[in-house]
């Protein structure tokens, strides 16, 4: 039996009807929205051998409850027949009549009273004593600093996308902060830093989580009891509370994650009216929200994946709808692509565009970007580089690979291989990055007083001499220290000693501005320019290419990037790790350059920065040399095996401990297990042909279960697989889905079950609410700050593994 029967109005109409019958129905044939979605007939729990007949559905009593007619007595139902099949979403409901009196207005909006109360309560929890700790707590050191960079407009580099940090900057701007403080961890805030105002503004996002939680539960069709529980859990989790009270990105990440889920559930409930105004609105909001959440932290991609899976399932359902015209199919696809792919990408890119626009001064993050980009930053002098490279020029060479550094050498030698001087790739500006272009050994020595300037061209064979140590860039058939299949590159000899292995052939790849300059006829056009010309260096004897990929040298090389020489036939022509460009260029004999020669397109910068972020994010692997006491393993999270000290633990200071409310975390995790078992049992019973629910109930039950379970899994499993360092706060977005699941399971087994009386339900609710509030109150100190010696606070050590006491 097709599952859609329950709601598909076009299906069981007798064949004598014509298509115009739709217009003549003066009353909807059924109206399930008026039933609670958990409605279950007593007799439904029985076994049928034959196919479940349509009779099932007909037994559903038709009890329209919200029967409103407006003053003209029009039948509003007639106007909007559902256009497409609805699997579990809410049916269209008539809007209530306009309130005639204030009393009626209140009555109509009664349902909004609880969320308002909860929101006010959350204002208290979030803002209470928010400025009590006047020191830089935990990662405020990072995010406060990034906010300062926006105010000072200095370019910096970080692994997270910019939206959240820009909002921190905005909060600072609104609060009147001038960006002068460097947010050193643990230091006291000076007078002129309005940290309280900044914290309050960011905590507002935390406040917003509570109403979103409530309304999401409503949209998921949970009973009132369960909605209250969701709101209470969001309100009273000390983990969410604690993380929302500081200058961190997490409150924003959480808010936008909640918002995305909310928009999605809202959109799901508009399914009865595809392409209607509300439908479009919530679809667009879902897209925007995805864009925002991913622009705050990359973790947002997980909730994006949830929306993606939901959409795939939805489209798959629609694909099987043979009655839907092709035009509608195309429209559905088009709408999803436009709203869920294009809009988020635009939002994401827009945040980067603003990021680049705001940060137009040179700052600590310069070196991560391409040389060309840096040339545009105020305070950077690359655009003063002499344009054309000549013999005798002093220059630095930048690798064009993602996050590539500058060619570097220092007096330390390789402890392996040739034991000659190390050559590495280094990310910071330093005198040791400077090289001088010199002619080959068998040519006349470079003479600075020679009248004619010899410019560098494609195919020239040169020697690169390291400025501070005079060693020559050298390679030889000795395996490189890390990438054993390549040859080692070292610094060898000095200004008089050297050999043929010091010779490198300059190959021009192209010029970002002028294109393929090798083909130009004019000699002047063929010259190599600083910043814009992409070069490769080929070893004259070995025929290998100078390359710096992402291999990191061990401690003896100060964890800098290895430079090696890769055999020509193993090197792809398009391998950007073998591309170099001249970054800084000094030559007294040449005229200074001008900004107009150097242009950097936005898309290229955007892409470059994103790849660089990815690369460094993946590089955040646990360092076996550095014991990180704060890091934790994902399997320690669901049952709250560990907490996290967010600041110093001295007796005199206010101590914050990142820890969830245990009841909520444990209950949520257990409910996930329960959900798996429940679904398994229901499926097995279905296989044995027991009918526990009708199709619509089953679809709705599975819809909520899928949102909660997949949401949880998508936010959790990737951390298990990821190689990078993980911390407890990575579980905070994940927790939301286990909270939803807990509410859903309680709803399914208690609040919406017909087995229990109202009284039992009230008792269960009372117990749950008391437990949640009670544990919150017990642990409130960890979020509000523990004053005095921590060991004086009795009874907080619920698990031995918490390091809450000294």
């Amino acid at each position: 039996m097709p599952s859609a029967v329950a709601v598909d109005f076009g299906e069981d109409i007798s064949p004598t009807r014509t298509s115009s019958d739709f217009e003549e129905i003066n009353y909807p044939s059924h109206h399930e929205s008026s039933l609670p979605s958990y409605y279950m007939e007593d007799k439904a729990r029985r076994r049928t051998k034959g196919p479940v007949s349509i009779m099932e559905e007909e037994k559903v009593p038709l009890v329209p409850q919200n029967e409103y007619f407006d003053d003209e007595g029009k039948d509003v139902y007639n106007k909007r027949p559902p256009k497409s099949r609805v699997s579990s979403g809410r049916m269209w409901q008539a809007p209530p009549p306009r309130p005639a009196s204030l009393q009626e207005f209140f009555l109509q909006n009664m349902e909004h009273i609880p969320p308002i109360i909860y929101t006010l309560l959350s204002c208290w929890t979030r803002f209470h004593n928010i400025g009590a700790s006047d020191i830089v707590v935990w990662d405020e050191a990072h995010f406060g600093k990034f906010g300062s960079h926006y105010l000072k407009r200095e370019f910096y580099f970080d692994v997270h996308p910019p939206l959240g940090k820009m909002l921190v900057g905005l909060a600072g701007l609104l609060a009147g902060y001038d960006g002068s403080f460097d947010f050193k961890s643990g230091t006291q805030y000076p007078e002129n830093v309005p940290y309280v105002a900044m914290r309050v503004m960011l905590a507002t996002f935390g406040v917003g989580m509570v109403p979103l939680g409530w309304y999401t539960a409503v949209e998921l069709g949970l009973s009132q009891w369960a909605c209250h529980l969701v709101a209470l859990m969001v309100l009273f989790d000390v983990g969410w509370l604690c993380i929302s009270r500081f200058i961190l990105l997490d409150s924003m990440l959480l808010f936008f994650t909640f918002l995305t889920v909310f928009c999605l559930t809202k959109f799901h409930n508009q399914q009865h009216d595809s392409f209607g105004f509300d439908w479009w609105m919530w679809l667009v909001f879902t897209g925007l929200s995805i864009g925002w959440v991913t622009s705050v932290k990359m973790v947002g991609l997980f909730v994006t994946a949830l929306v993606g899976l939901y959409t795939i399932e939805d489209l798959w359902e629609k694909f099987g709808d043979l009655k839907m015209p092709v035009r509608d199919h195309v429209k559905h696809w088009g709408a999803r692509i436009a709203c869920l792919i294009v809009i988020p990408i635009l939002v994401f890119m827009a945040s980067f565009k603003i990021h680049f626009m705001v940060l137009n001064h040179s700052g600590p993050g310069d070196a991560q970007m391409s040389s060309l980009f840096q040339a545009h930053l105020v305070g950077n002098d690359f655009n003063k580089n002499p344009l054309e490279i000549a013999f005798g020029s002093r220059l630095t060479l930048k690798n064009m690979g993602w996050g590539g550094g500058l060619l570097h050498s220092h007096v330390q030698t390789y402890p392996v291989g040739s034991s000659q001087q190390q050559v590495t790739c280094y990310h910071y500006k330093d005198e040791n990055n400077e090289w001088i272009v010199l002619p080959r050994w068998d040519e006349a020595e470079y003479n600075p007083n020679e009248p004619e300037i010899r410019f560098l061209h494609h195919g020239d064979s040169i020697r690169l001499s390291h400025k501070p140590t005079t060693r020559n860039l050298h390679s030889h058939p000795i395996p490189a220290p890390v990438t054993k299949l390549n040859w080692e590159v070292a610094g060898y000899g000095n200004s008089t000693i050297g050999d043929q292995q010091d010779h490198w052939i300059v190959e021009v790849v192209d010029d970002v501005v002028r294109g393929d300059i090798k083909k130009h006829k004019d000699e002047k056009e063929q010259r190599i320019h600083s910043l814009t010309t992409r070069l490769r260096f080929k070893h004259q004897i070995l025929g290998c290419y100078l390359r710096a990929a992402n291999a990191i040298l061990p401690q003896w090389g100060f964890k800098q990037i290895e430079v090696s020489c890769q055999a020509a036939d193993a090197t792809s022509k398009n391998d950007v790790h073998t591309y170099w460009n001249v970054e800084s260029h000094w030559n007294d004999r040449l005229p200074l350059g001008d900004q107009k020669y150097y242009r950097s397109p936005f898309l290229r910068d955007f892409w470059h920065l994103n790849v660089a972020m990815m690369t460094s994010n993946n590089a955040l692997i646990p360092d076996p040399d550095k014991e990180d006491i704060l890091a934790s393993k994902p399997f320690e999270w669901p049952f709250l095996h560990i907490g996290l000290r967010m600041c110093g633990w001295g007796d005199s200071q206010l101590k914050y401990y990142l820890l969830g409310t245990p009841i909520i975390w444990w209950g949520g995790s257990l409910s996930l297990v329960l959900a798996i078992v429940t679904v398994g049992v229901y499926l097995m019973r279905a296989q044995r042909k027991y009918v526990d629910m009708n199709d619509r109930e089953w679809n709705h039950f599975m819809y909520v279960t899928k949102i909660a379970f997949l949401g949880w899994a998508l936010h959790y499993v990737p951390f298990l697989v990821m190689g990078r360092v993980t911390y407890l706060h990575h579980y905070l977005p994940t927790l939301y889905f286990s909270v939803l699941m807990l509410a859903h399971m309680l709803d399914h087994f208690v609040f919406s079950s017909r087995r229990w009386t109202q009284k039992t339900k009230a008792i269960v609710f009372g117990v749950c609410a008391t437990l949640i509030f009670g544990t919150f109150w017990w642990f409130r100190g960890v979020a509000f700050g523990i004053a005095g010696p921590v060991n004086d606070h009795w009874g907080l050590l619920w698990r031995k593994s918490w390091n809450i006491y000294n």
Binding site: W316, P325, A570, D625, K626, R688, K689
Partner: protein, 763 residues
């Protein structure tokens, strides 16, 4: 509306076409005599036997060809050859893989007269010079590898594919350079793959008998599946994936049995119990028995001792712990070493510099370091913190005692305090404090925590590990491989780890130092100790746990390790062995044509399934039911084998090599056959399951590929063989190649062969 109309209108026509089709099918497929004459000949048992015989003979020929070449240790023969010699000598060793395949090698070595004296220490060591009967040992994988070919044929044949198709799949394995290279050497993979294919074969036989449930034959194949599965798992850790495959298949099967139309719950439980016995209990018992034999064959102490717990080590005869473990008493002078880095706890008169490079300040106390060599500065004397009797067992240091450790040469107590250590600001500095100065007495107290100890257990040298936890600050004495700078003579840093139960903060007491005049009363007073007994299951559990830990720990980088995504496309191989004088080399690489065929087949398969799903969603059924059934169930099972043996590698962070793909490659060869059948003809042999007493008779269909089958197979085999022969010098390691030849054999630029000629530089 118009859409619906069209639909209803087209329906009768559709029905009609269908009837036509079926009648057509009647004519062509359902009459065995209307098949092409070639097909009729090929489908006879006699023809099938001949094909199998040819395939098997060729397989033996290709795998035994020059099997004595090279007469040197190649690649992982270093390990697996060594393990065989340990079995022969009975010395305990430790390895991450279960013992079955290695036991077979031990057996092969024993049969061929290997005395176990040679230890396979380095790649390139000569066998002939050391009189190792290596050909006998290599023959074992070669035989198993050769037998894999007929098993592949049988799998396909049993799954209902034509002789030609079965031969096609077998040929992909037969002429595959990677399978050949892997089975000519003392490596575990040939055993693994052989038993994996047998498991698949047995399971298919079992499935075909599903309408004759609980018959003797049915039980036979069920138990055979279980037994082969245990052998697969026992050969190599990866064999667990075969267990998972069968597990998933059984779950799907059970799910179908749960359907109420199939019978009562009692009926279901009977099936459930039968499978639990056949596929869980029996394999587990067999798996255990491998370990039983393993332990029984390795009674004496060997290189694997140090991996095991002290209790385990005491079961090995000749173990040092057994021989020279001594109880430590108060006022004994002892030396202590760190478990992982093996450094001694050391101190010397030099002090920590007041200021470090990063600006932090030290206590300027005496340095406490980790030192790798024996030295009198490693001597520490154990001081009690309670009253102890003059003599007797009261003087023994026990688990949980609070002790002080006196550095003998400088007469100062070990101490730690809340000062950051030189290298790690998060950890505490260790230093010493003069014995007579009582002002810091509390900071010199340490609790001795013996690991896994009972209350009151005595502290012994060499037997068991301990943690030294500071009484006041609860840090445990820890060290790591980082060296201190020149001022501490580049010795290892010792510091206090804030986690008192840190796993790597484990130490052991090396020895009790006796004065010259002091008599060692302890060793004499004890009689020569006999190896202790330990419960087999305890031993088994301990070893399993260690195997898992070490397997996950194999993360060091290797120049020939490669990521799983490269494997199906054969992007890189492994250099097994090279000989510079003759420019010979063995490079593990597959047959390019065979592997790429498999990749193409896989993508076609996924494409067909996707298209079928989409079409059915739109109520079209483009593929006839029997053919579809075959694609989903039979090829689907192969696809499951492929996926389960491949996908998990994406999640592993350990070292991965292309030979980990070989089981999946075998499965993909099976899929290639199924796809070829689908592409060449819409016919299948159907049904193939054996009819049960209660099953309804179904109309039989017969596969008919006709003449094009043998022709395609013939051409394909020639191509396969040509490719095989072309890269054979890399597979057999002979003859030597000139630089230019090496270059020409490098078919993909990602293959890293040795002895390549330098290309003349193009400027």
């Amino acid at each position: 509306m118009s859409l619906r109309q069209r639909h209803t209108l087209s329906r009768p026509g559709h029905e009609y076409e269908r009837a036509q089709e079926e009648e057509h099918a009647d004519d062509v497929y359902q009459n065995p005599n209307s098949r092409h004459p070639i097909e009729k000949i090929l489908e006879t048992d006699r023809a099938s036997t001949i094909v199998v015989a040819v395939l098997t003979t060729l397989a033996f020929a290709l795998r035994f060809y020059k099997i004595n070449q090279p007469d040197q240790v190649v690649f992982d023969e270093v390990h697996f050859g060594k393990f065989a010699s340990y079995y022969i000598q009975g010395e305990y060793y430790f390895d991450v893989h279960p013992p079955f395949a290695k036991l077979l090698f031990g057996l092969a070595g024993w049969f061929s007269g290997f005395d176990g004296q040679f230890h396979f220490d380095n790649i390139g060591d000569s066998y002939t010079a050391n009189h190792v009967p290596y050909v006998g040992m290599r023959a074992l994988p070669a035989i198993l590898g050769s037998l894999t070919v007929p098993v592949v044929y049988a799998i396909m044949k049993q799954s209902g594919y034509s002789t030609i198709i079965s031969a096609f799949s077998a040929a992909i394995i037969l002429f595959d350079n990677a399978h050949i290279a892997q089975s000519r050497l003392i490596l575990l993979d040939a055993t693994l793959i052989f038993f994996m294919s047998l498991t698949i074969y047995a399971y298919i036989r079992f499935q075909k008998l599903r309408y004759r449930e609980f018959s003797t034959e049915w039980w036979g194949w069920l138990l055979a599946t279980g037994a082969f599965m245990a052998c697969t798992w026992g050969s190599k850790v990866n064999g667990i994936l075969t267990v998972v495959t069968i597990g998933i298949a059984v779950l799907v099967d059970l799910w179908k049995l749960l359907d109420h139309r199939r019978g009562s719950m009692d009926y279901f439980w009977r099936h459930f119990i039968a499978r639990s016995i056949g596929l869980i209990l029996v394999p587990f018992v067999i798996y255990l028995s491998f370990f039983y034999v393993h332990f029984a064959l390795l009674p004496t102490s060997g290189p694997g001792d140090s991996f095991m717990s002290p209790a385990f080590q005491e079961t090995l005869s000749g173990n040092e712990m057994l021989l020279s473990s001594k109880e430590i008493r108060y006022y004994d002078t002892i030396t202590m070493r760190h478990k992982d880095s093996k450094v001694y706890l050391h101190s010397h008169v030099e002090r920590y510099p007041l200021k470090y490079d990063d600006g932090r300040i030290s206590s300027q106390g005496q340095q406490v370091t980790g030192y790798g060599h024996a030295d009198t500065n490693n001597y520490w004397q154990v001081y009690p913190t309670k009253a102890i009797p003059e003599t007797g067992s009261g003087r023994v240091v026990r688990h949980g005692d609070v002790v002080q450790l006196l550095h003998v040469n400088t007469n100062s107590f070990l101490l730690t305090h809340d000062v950051a250590s030189p290298l790690m600001s998060t950890n505490q500095e260790f230093t010493t404090w003069p014995k007579d100065d009582k002002s810091k007495h509390n900071e010199t107290l340490f609790t001795l925590n013996l690991i896994d100890a009972n209350d009151g257990q005595a502290w012994k040298t060499k037997s068991g590990y301990f943690r030294l936890v500071h009484g006041k600050t609860r840090v445990s004495m820890w060290t790591h491989s980082k060296q201190l700078p020149e001022w501490a003579f580049k010795q290892q840093e010792i510091n206090g780890n804030k986690n008192p139960t840190e796993k790597t903060a484990t130490w052991f007491a090396e020895d009790v130092i006796l004065d010259e005049d002091e008599e060692d009363d302890r060793v004499e007073s004890q009689p020569a100790k006999a190896p202790k007994k330990m419960n087999f299951f305890k031993k088994f559990a301990e070893l399993q746990l260690l195997m898992m830990q070490h397997n996950a720990g194999l993360t060091a980088s290797h120049p020939y390790a490669s990521g799983p995504i490269n494997w199906p496309f054969l992007l890189s191989g492994i250099s097994f062995w090279t000989e510079s004088d003759t420019q010979k080399q063995i490079y593990l690489i597959g047959n390019l044509i065979g592997w790429w065929t498999c990749v193409v087949a896989l993508s076609i398969y996924v494409g067909i399934l996707g298209a079928d799903l989409l079409a059915r969603r739109r109520n079209h059924e483009p593929i006839p039911e029997p053919v579809r059934n075959r694609l989903w169930n039979s090829a689907g099972f192969f696809f499951l084998v492929w996926g389960v043996h491949y996908a998990p590698f994406f999640l592993m962070s350990r070292q991965l090599f292309i030979h980990h793909y070989l089981p999946s490659h075998l499965a993909s060869a099976l899929i290639a056959g199924a796809i070829l059948q689908f592409v060449l003809s819409e016919t299948v042999n159907y049904p193939i399951s054996i009819r049960g007493p209660k099953t309804r008779a179904q109309i039989r269909q017969y596969s008919d590929i006709g003449l094009k089958g043998p022709i395609i197979l013939g051409i394909y085999c020639v191509l396969l063989f040509a490719m095989f022969a072309y890269i054979a010098p890399l597979t057999y390691g002979t003859p030597g190649l000139t630089g230019e030849q090496v270059n020409s054999k490098r078919l993909l630029s990602t293959w890293t062969l040795h002895f390549a000629a330098k290309k003349t530089a193009e400027v």
